[in-house]
């Protein structure tokens, strides 16, 4: 069974569209994250979410919004997509805020 799963794996869309990426973890972890990896492989944290506490990286545009229906899910919604949003987005989870992260396999987002 996949511990952290995210869908879709590939997402191709036009500028200006709104899209969502879903993430689910079956590890019973309390904390979930979204990371963005750019074309140079730099991995940047976007959000962490723990027991309804949301920590947002201040450089993330407010077009990006995480939504957590329950502890096992943290979806990423993106409004008004821009070319610069093209990247690989990774979901991850951990038991606590300072522990080991378990990553999903990533979503390759291409904005045309």
């Amino acid at each position: 069974d996949t511990a952290v799963s995210q869908t879709p794996k590939y997402l191709v869309t036009q500028m200006g569209n709104d899209k969502s990426i879903k993430c689910e973890q079956n590890l019973g972890h309390d904390t979930m994250y979204w990371y963005k990896q750019d074309s140079k492989k730099f991995l940047k944290i976007m959000f962490s979410y723990n027991n309804k506490e949301l920590i947002i990286n201040e450089t993330v545009p407010n077009r990006f919004s995480p939504k957590s229906p329950d502890k096992a899910h943290l979806n990423l919604h993106i409004n008004s997509l821009e070319l610069g949003d093209s990247a690989v987005y990774f979901c991850a989870s951990s038991q606590d805020k300072i522990g080991v992260l378990f990553f999903g396999s990533g979503t390759q987002l291409s904005v045309l």
Partner: protein
Amino acid sequence: SQQGEEDPQALSIQEGENATMNCSYKTSINNLQWYRQNSGRGLVHLILIRSNEREKHSGRLRVTLDTSKKSSSLLITASRAADTASYFCGVISGSARQLTFGSGTQLTVLP
């Protein structure tokens, strides 16, 4: 601010040789973690070293931590072609409580 800067950006070695990758960071840390990323996949955890530890081993992996120099190194001994991947260090700072990474070291092990 960016933490966990890996060096070198790319490393190419022959199978059987040792590979050493370095990581530098800027602020005090709670722990430092090394991860591996195969092409097209997510990151996989390798080793976690706490701020009060100086060295840890796991199989062919050896990690050192020097908090006075704010640096860590990952040594892979007797490398194999299957070790070809990107390696990232992530740091959890005392205040931020979030794991932050750099751009990784791309290791290529030639058969």
